[in-house]
Amino acid sequence: MTADDSHDDIPVQRAAPRIGHRGSGDPQVAIDTPVVFDLEDVAVYYGAFRAVRGVAMKVLKNQITALIGPSGCGKTTLLRAFNRMHDVIPGARVTGKLQYHGIDLYGPQVSATEVRRRIGMVFQKPNPFPKSIYDNVAFGPRVNGTKNKIELDAIVEKSLRAAALWDEVKDRLGSSALGMSGGQQQRLCIARTIAVEPEVVLMDEPCSALDPIATARIEELMRELKSRFTIVIVTHNMQQAARVSDRTAFFTAELDSANDRRTGILVEYDVTQKIFSNPSDERTENYITGRFG
């Protein structure tokens, strides 16, 4: 835990676990880098269907962690487990150990809305509210109790600046967010997410609907935001993972002997450079070099 961590209104384990060199798929971790998420044997089910299983990994603070892999490997499913987005899907459930700063995210005392306030999410398709630009950014702070207009104005400006959007929209904060371009909308969604000052920002293929220029801007933004937030990104784009992430987890789908359906598994998790230059698993190498997926 760093000193500037201010999320002490939920019981956060002060002595965050220090990471050693143990466990399969456990990457080399610098001593003293706090662990944000600690997963052991995590599986996600949709009804009887097991979408992903046996995931063990540690997500580190102020790093960008990329989840890559072919379609149907469960990477998005896993991402959504990080902020309990599965709660709203009937029949979906998460098993195994999924700790956030040492606290069981799915523990009985933990409120999903509190979790999501600390762990924000940016989606594949830009999804601003059908409201004004200002109201989009102010929505999160408002539901979290900020009513003061001056305070809100400051948060909106700060968030839009952080999302590199302020100069483009400062003169039309009152106009509808749906009138913006796709790239602007996605940056607005990022601004909206960071306006609630989360610790973690989850990004689910945030650039898949954007053109290369807009994509480049988002990637640049992610590198800037890294100093303030921990970022977990799901991406189809291996170059993107190589460009922006510190660590990469490679997933694939294998036939599940339990129910004869394809289930996602974590193959390899390591520092990004190693994954892309010298992967230890053959399946990773096949995928990286384009022989699979």
């Binding site: 509190e114 059908p130 509808s176 909206r192 609630v196």
Partner: protein, 291 residues
Amino acid sequence: MQLSELHARSQHADRAFRVLAVVAATTVLVVLALITVTMSKRAWPVLEHMGLDFFTSSRWSAPEGIYGALPFIFGTLFTATIALALAVPVSLGVALFITQVAPPWLKKPMVYLLDLLAVVPSVVFGLWGVLVLSQHFGLGRSFLTAGIILAVMITPIITSLSREVIETTPQTDKEAALALGATRWEMIGASVLPHSKGGLVGAVMLGLGRALGETIAAALVIGSALGQITLDPYASGNSMPAVIANEFGESDGMHKSALIALAVTLFVITIIVNLVATAIVQRSMRRSRGT
């Protein structure tokens, strides 16, 4: 050769479809125009006889040849207002419950039940109103009783349509709010309602249209008091369709003309309501689209 035949045939089908569409559209317009013309023609004698007093006078005496429709216009709007005031919150609540809260095992039967209620003939509601509301609960025959019956009648329709509209809210829109730490209720306010606004107004207006035009149920419970203009919901009153239903059979001459003029007035009011609704829907859609 074969290719050109195929080409010609597809053009043919296209033209046939266009002709069909034009004919269908024209038929609707012609029927509407015919209704307007024939009804207005038959309503004309009383409008000539009464002038604007037809809309502003509150006396309706067939034996004396005095026809003032104001109390009936008032009664129609008043009961419809009561009905909307009761039905809209309930309908939206139920629609939101079904779409956002209810577990799947409860959702299906509720949807089925509501769709079933939406097609119950109005006379059934009317009789229920007479037996239960007026007699058992002692509400008598009044604006309020009529308003409640109309509310009961239009609730399934508004709920059913609202549910379908709300259901079209993209999951990602809802997740956007949830991912910001919004509660379910805040999510509804941020995503579901803004997304569905246009469709919800449309659903309410369809309900209003039915409430305005509802005849049998209103005729049974509104009390058929003549000349009553009061905001007291417990008072007996009358509405345009109820008067037409009650008096048309035994009417003749000027009296019949007056009843037809009531129908024309109702027709015009319904058209105005629909135009206003369309305008509201379009404006809200334009605004949320940001153009």
